[in-house]
């Protein structure tokens, strides 16, 4: 296999990120110009690796929850018996999106206390819409001859869903999940304002002590994670689409 430039670039960035998380002090010379008055250059109020893993965990749990609920909802309202709930569920999910995440945090704290919980709630609500909309698009724009054939060969409603509709809608659903994950990776940083352990801590610590180096470190890790995950999920979608002939070989 020939390694192409984009692949090399991806591997390089991933390697750089891992090294930075394991041995942040090696990078001290790079960040030093950003600090003044002998302030610490590398974040020192906890392990960057631990914060990164916790950050990812929060996003993963919230997105998993949002995926399950959004896809289930989309399936429900595209069945004959659930069609009348389509407008209602659309507006509910839209509300979830228009509500600013900060406001959700503020409202959730009195109810569930400080920490990871309010962050999870905010991210969950925020992640619903893209996944729901995409699942809905995926499930309602299937080629009619194919859904017709699925009935024609004698599949039950459940078999049609599992064997034909979901697999065919999968690339579009995945695109929704990808969007949701990327938004939530960034949004999760504000969870640190309510004491959730995320990379937001690094940024907030930097802002409070006027330490640009900290802010940059937190921001860079989040940015690189978002880009890499976005890229990985895109590749997965392309792979599946190509399998189904929905996308021509490039």
């Amino acid at each position: 296999m020939k390694l192409r430039l984009p692949t090399i670039l991806r591997i390089g960035i991933l390697a750089l990120l891992i090294v930075f998380l394991l041995r942040p002090d090696w990078f001290e010379p790079i960040f030093r110009p950003l600090t003044q008055n002998n302030a610490p250059v590398i974040y020192n109020q906890g392990s960057l690796l631990t914060l990164t893993l916790l950050h990812l965990r929060t996003v993963a749990i919230a997105t998993a929850g949002a995926t399950i609920v959004a896809v289930a909802l989309a399936i429900l309202v595209t069945r004959p018996f659930g069609a009348e709930f389509l407008p209602l569920s659309r507006s509910l999910v839209n509300i979830g999106q228009t509500f600013p995440p900060v406001a959700v945090l503020a409202l959730a704290v009195p109810a569930v206390g400080f920490g990871e919980k309010p962050t999870l709630i905010a991210l969950f609500l925020y992640g619903l819409l893209p996944i729901f909309e995409n699942s809905l698009t995926g499930l309602t724009t299937l080629p009619p001859t194919v859904t017709d054939a699925a009935r024609g060969v004698g599949m039950t409603g459940w078999q049609r869903l599992v064997k034909v509709e979901l697999p065919l809608a999968m690339p579009i659903i995945l695109a929704g999940i990808r969007l949701s994950v990327t938004i939530n990776l960034a949004t999760a940083t504000i969870g640190s304002t309510v004491a959730a352990k995320t990379l937001g801590e690094v940024i907030i610590a930097g802002l409070q002590s006027n330490n640009l180096s900290f802010v940059l470190q937190g921001g860079l890790i989040v940015g690189v994670l978002a880009v890499m995950i976005y890229d990985g999920l895109s590749a997965m979608e392309r792979f599946i689409s190509r399998r189904m002939g929905l996308l021509q070989q490039s």
Partner: protein
């Protein structure tokens, strides 16, 4: 046997199929012809209940087709959909295996059946089995669509314009394949087309539809000789009528005693082909040979022309 009794389908105030009754004999091919929008597909889809009729009954071998749940009924009836409808995310082999899998056949039996069908349609199982539908030509996709419909050895096969997208050469090849398969398995076939030529060639009986009404249900010879309405006559095409009539019978039926010079024609060729050959080569008579290649007599221009004239009603 398929008995369609007073079937009507309305969508709102629009009647799409209007009080249609007809009986399809087992092991025959019935072709439904008509212009676009005449209700052919709708009539056919009421047989396997993809469409539920507004009124009327359809019986399969004497049993109301509503006795079984729709999905079980459809597993027993082969259906080759208008525009093939292959599953794009499944390989060719998986597409063919769909109905046997739903019926719970064991894996070895399914594999054997898939190979058998691919071979039957002259597609190499090793090459084509693992391919995805988008890696096939239109003609190949169409054949896989028919193979999928035949996979569970159904007694009844519904085909909706199966040859619509094919070029003339592949099309006539596919028609011959279909006739051979029908003979071999004794399948009862209902086929929709808007091509009268195809209907005359394939059908034991032809049902002519227009605006939801069944105008005529008869043998090709009867439809050619006595079209029930002007519409049927137009569909048959008055100019081509004598030739279509000749295309119904083999040259063997028109054999007269005697001999003739030149290249012979097989007895199984249609009389139309025989006449065409006579006219083209400018000969008055052609020798006819049987399957063994033995001369059995001759056909003459005069004899064929007499046969092409309108039979007495």
């Amino acid at each position: 046997m398929i008995e369609i009794e007073n079937i009507t389908k309305r969508y709102g105030a629009v009647t799409v199929v209007n009080d249609v009754s007809l009986v399809v004999q087992p092991r025959t091919i019935t072709v439904i012809v008509g212009t676009s929008g005449s209700g052919k597909t709708t009539l056919m889809r009421m047989i396997n209940r993809l469409v539920e009729p507004t009124a009327g009954v359809i019986k399969l071998d004497g049993e109301d087709n509503r006795t079984l749940p729709g999905y079980e009924l459809r597993r027993r009836i082969g259906y080759a959909i208008q525009g093939h409808g292959l599953f794009p995310h499944r390989t060719v082999a998986q597409n063919i295996a769909v109905v046997p899998e739903l019926l719970g056949w064991d894996k070895a039996k399914i594999d054997a059946r898939v190979r058998e069908l691919l071979a039957l349609f002259q597609l190499d199982p090793e090459t084509f089995g693992p391919r995805y539908p988008h890696e096939l030509s239109g003609g190949q996709q169409q054949r896989i669509g028919v193979a999928r419909a035949l996979a569970a050895e159904p007694n009844v096969l519904l085909m909706d314009e199966p040859f619509g997208a094919l070029d003339p050469v592949i099309r006539s090849k596919a028609q011959e394949d279909l006739l051979a398969i029908q003979k071999r398995f004794g399948t009862t076939i209902i086929l929709v087309t808007h091509d009268m030529e195809e209907a005359i060639h394939l059908g034991h009986k032809i049902a002519v539809m227009d605006g939801g009404n069944l105008l005529q249900y008869a043998t090709p010879a009867e439809i050619l000789a006595n079209p029930a309405t002007d519409f049927v006559a137009t569909l048959v095409g008055t100019g081509d009528r004598p030739f279509r009539f000749l295309s119904l019978s083999p040259a063997g039926d028109a054999v007269e005693p005697g001999t003739a010079e030149g290249e012979a024609i097989p007895a199984s060729a249609t009389q139309r082909d025989a006449l065409a050959e006579l006219l083209w080569s400018g000969r008055p008579a052609l020798p006819v040979v049987n399957e063994a290649g033995k001369a059995i007599g001759r056909v003459t221009v005069d004899g064929l022309v007499k046969r092409a004239s309108r039979p007495a009603a």
